[in-house]
């Protein structure tokens, strides 16, 4: 009887616990969503409203002026196109290199495996640092070329480990041996058996690299001075972060100042939306692979 009572009490306390957890989660969700929502609404709002209201929930009327300004900005368009190229070429190279690194390391009897694993893993924890790397890239004559963005970050050991673990756990040994007996070369085995079985992990790894490519500003800041090669993130940095000082300079001289200031503010929000949309479009396409891809690779890695 008392045990039953106990169970009832327990059920009640569990309910309270779950309730509290849900309340906290709801709060966290609001904190995560609202800033993103604010940017989205602000981009469709007449900038004057942003000045008048601290909080925005829905645009009073949809206003597309800010977006028109974005698409009239030549630097932005050049940057956008450059970033698409950097991302496509760079991610392709990343994925190919990642497979080249992960497949050999996933093989059961590959002589030198330990050596290569150690050699690659060491780079995760120790590096030459910013300056020596910069000097190497410079010495190779890559600076101020398209390839300065692409090649120095061609592959990363972390992602190789994830993919290697996936290969090891998902591709049965028997399959490999059967293929060997049939006289299939390692290379054909990779192309015709391993890769078709590994679509989820390839999609996930491509997303990792792709997002990194699209969002990277630092390597371009270091290696690129030619404005024609600027990726979107560097253009964004100019629009969003660097013009503040010059905005303040011409306060005195100009009567159209406040109008321009407002247009600028609207432009900033629209620029953020346009530059972030491509990732949020691609992410859902890849998301269905996550369960299969990341978990296996990540946990056992």
């Amino acid at each position: 009887m008392s045990k039953k009572n106990n169970q009832i009490q327990l059920a009640a306390s569990d309910k309270i616990f779950r309730g509290v957890a849900l309340v906290i989660l709801a709060f966290v969700m609001v904190i995560i969503i609202y800033p993103i929502w604010f940017v989205l609404v602000a981009s469709f709002t007449n900038p004057l409203e942003i000045y008048q209201n601290a909080f925005l929930f829905w645009p009073k009327e949809f206003n597309f002026e800010s977006y028109k300004l974005v698409f009239r900005d030549q630097d932005f368009i050049t940057g956008f196109i450059n970033s698409i190229l950097y991302t496509l070429v760079g991610t392709t190279l990343n994925v190919v290199m990642n497979i080249c690194g992960a497949y050999p390391l996933s093989k059961r009897n590959f002589k030198g495996k330990t050596f290569f694993t150690l050699m690659f893993t060491f780079t995760m924890f120790f590096s030459g640092g910013l300056i020596p790397t910069y000097l190497v890239v410079d010495a190779l004559g890559l600076r101020n070329t398209f390839w300065a963005i692409i090649i120095p970050s061609a592959v990363g050991m972390y992602n190789i480990i994830i993919m290697r673990t996936y290969f090891q756990s998902r591709i049965p040994l028997e399959l490999e041996e059967a293929a060997k007996v049939d006289g299939c070369t390692n290379f054909r085995l990779l192309l015709q058996i391993v890769l078709p079985l590994s679509v989820p992990i390839i999609a996930v790894i491509a997303l990792y690299y792709g997002v990194g490519r699209w969002n990277d500003y630092f390597s371009a800041m270091i290696y690129i001075t030619n404005r024609k090669l600027y990726p979107l993130q560097l253009v964004l940095r100019e629009i969003l972060l660097q013009n503040q000082a010059s905005d303040m300079m011409d306060v005195v001289s100009d009567s159209g100042y406040s109008d321009r200031m407002m247009a600028r503010l609207g432009l900033k929000y629209a620029v953020i939306v346009v530059s972030t949309v491509p990732i949020f479009v691609i992410y859902p396409l890849v998301q269905k692979f996550f369960a299969k891809g990341v978990m296996v690779g990540a946990i056992k890695g």
Partner: protein, 329 residues
């Protein structure tokens, strides 16, 4: 590669006996056999090896310029040695105390917050029984992770701008009254850096813990319930111990990167007014190295950062090994 392997194969194949010479022959023979059998695998890994040699190991070789006066004309190897001059100069410089302090505070602060935060979030997600609701909430929590550093920092700055930023309005309700934006406040910088980092990374980092929690066998909870364990106790005595290897591995990785804090973000968050709190070793390396072209000096500063980092990693790993039998190596 194939022909090389064939040539090697023709050498007399010694056995393990016969001292070093025999051992060497045996090894060569073994390698020749491996090369012949798996030449295509070696071809595959070749570009990756070349990449790591050029972009990881040659720069490591280039670290020697930290002890030299690098001259572009002479290159890494032939520049003249100066010993520890650059290190002494760094330690005696005005910035030394400041950048070390900022780097340590920001990294420790962000470790303390950002290691448990995703674990807690994953535990909370685990309490949501409706699968659809849970998946939706998780998807929402990942979203900030995809925002670029440039956009993230500009959102921070815009939201903190007086008049137009809503976070600034909230702060003013709670009594912040300075005329300028709080981003310029050195005393607020650490908090801004760490908590915006939590906002951005928490959801994404929780994925791996959610997966680990799902892997905990259900019958353990059932047994605990029969014994009268409350939810909180179940979490404390079952869930957390079950996922602790995952937590420890990720924590060691994070600690090993402790000084490589997000300099890309810190760099963009810097304003001339908050520099006393926001200058860290890596942003200092960038400024002294690339903006002022003091290559050798800033290589030394970077090396200093790297070595401390490596030592911390080794210490963290050995502590984890002793305490929990989970470690990186």
């Amino acid at each position: 590669m194939q022909t090389k392997a064939a040539v090697k194969k023709n050498k007399p194949s010694g056995n393990a006996k016969g001292g070093f010479g025999g051992w060497l022959k045996f090894q060569l023979h073994d390698w020749a056999k491996a090369l012949k059998r798996d030449y295509d695998v070696y071809l595959l890994i070749l570009p990756v090896v070349v990449y790591f040699v050029i972009f990881a190991y040659i720069p490591m070789y280039g670290i020697q310029i930290a002890f030299k006066n690098y001259s572009p004309a002479l290159g890494f190897a032939d520049s003249p040695w100066v010993g520890l001059d650059h290190l002494t100069r760094f330690i005696n410089s005005l910035y030394f105390g400041r950048v070390i302090k900022n780097t340590l505070i920001m990294s420790v602060y962000s470790l303390i917050i950002s290691i448990p935060a995703p674990v807690i979030l994953a535990l909370l997600f685990n309490e949501v029984r409706t699968k659809r609701l849970r998946v939706t909430m998780q998807a929402i929590s990942y979203a900030p992770n995809f925002i670029s550093t440039v956009v993230m920092v500009s959102m921070i700055i815009m939201f903190l701008t007086p008049q137009t930023g809503f976070v600034d309005s909230i702060l003013r309700v709670f009594g912040y009254s300075a005329e300028q934006s709080i981003i310029n406040e050195p005393s607020a910088f650490y908090h801004l850096y760490v908590w915006t980092g939590v906002w951005q990374g928490m959801g994404w980092s929780s994925v791996i813990y959610s997966a680990a929690i799902e892997g905990v066998p259900v019958d353990m909870y059932e047994a605990a319930r029969l014994d009268g364990a409350s939810k909180l106790k179940q979490i404390w005595y079952i869930t957390i111990p079950s996922i602790s290897p995952t937590i420890i591995i990720l924590a060691i990785m994070a600690i090993g990167n402790v000084l490589n804090i997000g300099y890309e973000k810190v760099f963009l968050m810097q304003t001339s007014l908050n520099l006393t709190s926001s200058e860290i070793i890596s942003t200092y390396v960038y400024k002294s190295g690339l903006q002022q072209a003091q290559y050798s000096f800033s290589t030394m500063v970077g090396l200093f950062n790297n070595v401390i980092n490596f030592i911390i990693l080794i210490i963290a790993n050995s502590i984890a090994k002793r305490v929990s039998e989970t470690s990186l190596w």
